[in-house]
């Protein structure tokens, strides 16, 4: 860090102290909230429960103020804040200054606690007059979690550490994080993790209070759906960042931190389906309390993996002192939930039994097994290095091929069930209806297999072929559901078919939104199967003017350009791509070199010995992507760098800057051969499109429908009111 000194600024330092005071006050409030909630729950004194709720609101207000102070410090380049000095600089673009807060351990913990406080405040406001027995215990859980994370910040990772004197310039943001996807990825991921705490807390409250009907599920359903959606968006953004930024052309590497976010998403998916069975049929109660507990424990595990350093990951903050406390929290959560579930088993008995395999509830049970099974496989593979070290003394990692081998078959079955599930009815599907409903999807499956075997070499990629076939099954089945919805309403009401379809879908957004999610997932898996199994990947070394053939494409390396700036030097290659003799695309993959703060690198060398990032050249299309990455050979610059370090040391920065510009431009005029990675990725864009469709479906499923609820109530109240006089009790 530069040694120039700012004048002592009492106001700025006091702001850091104010931030620390806010955190301390938030901790006191959170601890009070937990204690008051427990006291109110045990004694039934509502005043203490109300006070605990106000304490949670106060935590949200205090942490919001703390976040605002920190963000203002980032924007104003206030390097008295150690966090700002370590993760930002005067040359960092404003957008990345605002998002730099969560690029650090301390800032990300603050984000976690802040989102938790906001979500907790929201759910407690909504339930302020409901669930009298459950809410105190749920409040205690949420406040306890808040206390933990705020305490972690205060005692282990203080975001308001201050520097006196403040440096003149900050270190800047990690180059790999200067990407819009990576800027938004952490808040999405943490929102997902945090929002799962809401249904978890209410589940624990229901277990403690022994109120184990579906009421806690109904209240927290939208929070669970939001959590699933945010976590999914976080996974999507992370994958896209990997695809565009890391320079290897892939979007998923079975990295431990990637897996740690996928596992709660899978188990959470099982939970979202399984709770429908409890709501509608009174079954799978043990499954549901176990699934939400497992989902939340896995969220904590994901938080732990990023910060503990126990497993190597490009996504991780690295080893830190917060790993131990997080591990304790996970253990307490898992053991506590297990004890509660075991001691309440008598009240978790199902109200009915599954009486037919041809029923939606039996399909959802299979769904649970597949999703949890997949999560367990991924868990084993992720933690195998630690498991092997425990038993053998040596760490052995399991790489991507292992995961692909054991996860893919389960994924294939899941694709099939995304289509089967919507076809089946609650209770029992008649065998005649089953044959009729399965006919067209089965035909689609057979046709897909036949066509692919005829026109492609899909026969050599069995798993991909099955995914395509079962995805076709699912998409045709889902299309049939929408068609039947419109046709049924059209027959009943006489409305024109398009209007009938719109009304049928609009009046049951939860169901049809869910179907749209299924369609999105099927499309995503098509994209994954195609891009994984039919990819063309070549490493090239080209001189300017040379061409090479990759698949159907001819790649011509035309020129290299240099773009030296204050913050980085970029070298870009211009590639002209033709296909079948016609111009297809012009791609400009680049490599950015950021200066290192290491003074031993020298005034010239520091620009070439720091971190570097890849900007891929990408041509996207419905049929696939042409992806290129570029790695210039800078070894020819070494003699000039050494001479420049020696002769230009001590000169003003402007003079050094001019020398660097001249060096970069001289290099661009006569560059040595460069390395390129070129990948043809069939159908990869459908991963992102499918994921976005799934997100849209989730939003639709969770969207409140006040008007239709009133119409529904009026209709059924009138009909059931007539039966009140002659009603017989249910069996």
């Amino acid at each position: 860090m530069p040694l120039q000194v700012h004048h002592h600024d009492l106001g700025a330092i006091e702001l850091t102290i104010l931030g620390s005071v806010l955190l301390a006050a938030a901790l006191v409030c959170a601890l009070f909230a937990a204690g008051a909630a427990v006291y109110g729950g045990r004694t039934g004194d509502r005043r203490w429960v109300d006070s605990s709720r106000r304490a949670v609101y106060s935590v949200a207000a205090l942490l919001t103020t703390a976040v605002v102070i920190l963000e203002i410090a980032f924007v104003r380049n206030d390097f008295h804040f150690a966090l700002v000095a370590d993760h930002s600089s005067t040359t960092t673009p404003t957008f990345y200054k605002l998002t730099a807060m969560w690029s650090s351990q301390e800032g990300s913990l603050l984000l976690w606690a802040w989102v938790l406080s906001l979500a907790s405040s929201g759910v407690l406001y909504i339930t302020s007059r409901r669930h009298r027995e459950i809410v105190p215990w749920a409040t205690a859980v949420l406040a306890g979690l808040g206390s933990f994370f705020i305490g972690l910040m205060i005692f282990k990772a203080q975001p308001f550490g201050h520097l006196d004197p403040a440096p003149a310039e900050g270190v800047g943001l990690e180059p790999l994080l200067r990407n819009p996807y990576m800027a938004v990825h952490p808040p999405m991921l943490y929102s997902g993790y945090v929002l799962w705490s809401i249904p978890f807390a209410f589940c624990i409250g229901a277990l403690i209070a022994r109120k184990l009907d579906a009421s806690w599920i109904r209240t927290t359903r939208n929070f669970a759906l939001l959590a699933w959606t945010f976590l999914g968006i976080g996974l999507l953004l992370g994958s896209r960042w990997s695809y565009e930024e890391l320079g290897w052309g892939g979007y998923w590497g079975w990295d431990p931190v990637e897996n740690a976010a996928l596992m709660p998403w899978l188990v959470g998916t099982a939970f979202l389906h399984s709770v429908m069975v409890q709501e509608k049929r009174g079954m799978l109660k043990v499954w549901n309390v176990s699934l939400i507990s497992a989902t939340f424990c896995l969220c904590l595990l994901g938080t732990f993996l990023v910060r503990s350093g126990v497993l190597q990951s490009i996504h991780a903050f690295g080893a830190s002192t917060v790993g131990g406390p997080l591990l304790v929290l996970i253990a307490v959560t898992a053991i506590g939930a297990t004890v509660l579930i075991v001691t309440r088993l008598d009240q978790l008995q199902p109200e009915r039994r599954i009486n037919s395999l041809l029923s939606r509830e039996s399909i959802f049970l299979v769904n649970n097994l597949l999703l949890v099974g997949m999560a367990m496989v991924i868990f084993w593979g992720t933690f195998f290095p630690l498991i092997s070290e425990f038993f053998t003394g040596e760490k052995h990692s399991l790489a991507a091929p292992w995961f692909d081998r054991y996860v893919t078959p389960i994924g294939v079955l899941l694709v099939l069930f995304t289509g089967i599930g919507p076809l089946f009815a609650w209770g029992r599907l008649s065998s005649g209806a089953a044959k009729r409903l399965l006919l067209w999807p089965s035909i689609a499956t057979a046709v897909t297999i036949a066509v692919l075997l005829t026109v492609s070499d899909a026969g050599h990629h069995v798993w991909a072929l099955l995914i395509f076939a079962f995805a076709a099954f699912a998409l045709v089945a889902l299309w049939g559901e929408f068609w039947r919805a419109g046709a049924t309403r059209h027959a009943l009401t006489g409305e024109a078919y398009p209007r009938a379809l719109a009304n049928a879908v609009g009046r049951n957004r939860r169901r049809y939104g869910g179907y749209i999610v299924h369609a999105g997932i099927a499309l995503t898996l098509i994209g994954i199967a195609a891009s994984s199994s039919f990819q063309t990947n070549r490493d090239l070394r080209l001189q300017v003017g040379q061409t090479a053939k990759v698949g159907d494409y001819t790649i011509a390396y035309r020129k290299l350009t240099a773009d030296p700036q204050n913050e980085r030097i970029a070298f870009a290659a211009r590639l002209d791509v033709t296909r079948d003799g016609k111009h297809f695309a012009t791609l400009n993959p680049a490599r950015n070199y950021y200066p290192t703060q290491d003074p031993t690198a020298g005034p010239i060398g520091r620009y070439f010995m720091g971190d570097s990032t890849s900007e891929v050249g990408l041509k996207t299309g419905a049929g696939g992507d042409l992806w290129t990455a570029f790695q210039p050979d800078l070894s020819s610059l070494n003699p000039a760098i050494v001479r420049g370090n020696r002769e230009l040391r001590g000169l003003p920065p402007n003079a050094q800057g001019l020398a660097i510009i001249a060096l970069a431009q001289h290099y661009a005029q006569d560059p040595p051969p460069a390395n390129f990675k070129v990948i043809v990725n069939p159908l990869v864009g459908w991963i992102w499109i499918g994921a976005l469709i799934a997100v849209a479906g989730a939003i639709m499923a969770g969207w409140p429908a006040l008007e239709s609820r009133r119409r529904l109530e009026a209709a059924y109240r009138a009909r059931l009111g007539r039966e009140l006089g002659t009603a017989t009790p249910p069996n």
């Binding site: 106001g11 006091e14 702001l15 102290i17 104010l18 005071v21 806010l22 006050a25 409030c29 009070f32 509502r46 005043r47 203490w48 006070s51 106000r54 304490a55 106060s58 207000a61 205090l62 007059r129 409901r130 009298r132 579906a214 009421s215 109904r218 209240t219 709501e279 509608k280 076809l423 009815a425 609650w426 209770g427 029992r428 599907l429 008649s430 005649g432 209806a433 009729r436 409903l437 039947r484 049924t488 027959a491 009943l492 049951n508 939860r510 169901r511 609820r709 529904l712 109530e713 059924y716 109240r717 009138a718 059931l720 009111g721 009140l724 009603a727 017989t728 009790p729 249910p730 069996n731």
Partner: protein, 99 residues
């Protein structure tokens, strides 16, 4: 300045959080159990209506046979009537009116 601000914030928070504890239990607390239960029953009623509608949709689209639909519909309607009766018992007498 920041010190004063911190003190003000802490005092305000303490006043806000402890406000419910400074008064006597309100009379409304005694009727809260009924209000809370009524809200829960209303939520269960909506869920039951939704299930009845889903069953009707499944029957109309041919997924449920007439016999299975009849059985399921009777079951769901019975549960809905049970909930409506409990709602009617909890509501104040002046709230009753034609359905």
């Amino acid at each position: 300045m920041e010190f004063v601000l911190a003190v003000v914030i802490v005092v305000l928070v303490a006043w806000f959080v402890t406000a419910p504890l400074r008064g006597r239990p309100r009379q409304s607390d005694e009727i809260d159990p009924g209000v809370a239960e009524l809200a829960e029953l209303e939520a269960r009623k909506e869920a039951k209506y939704r299930q009845i509608r889903d069953a009707e949709t499944d029957h109309a689209s041919g997924k449920l046979s007439d016999e299975d639909f009849k059985h399921l519909d009777r079951e769901l309607r019975g549960e809905a009537i049970d909930i409506l009766k409990r709602i009617d018992r909890l509501r104040p007498p002046e709230a009753h009116g034609p359905s």
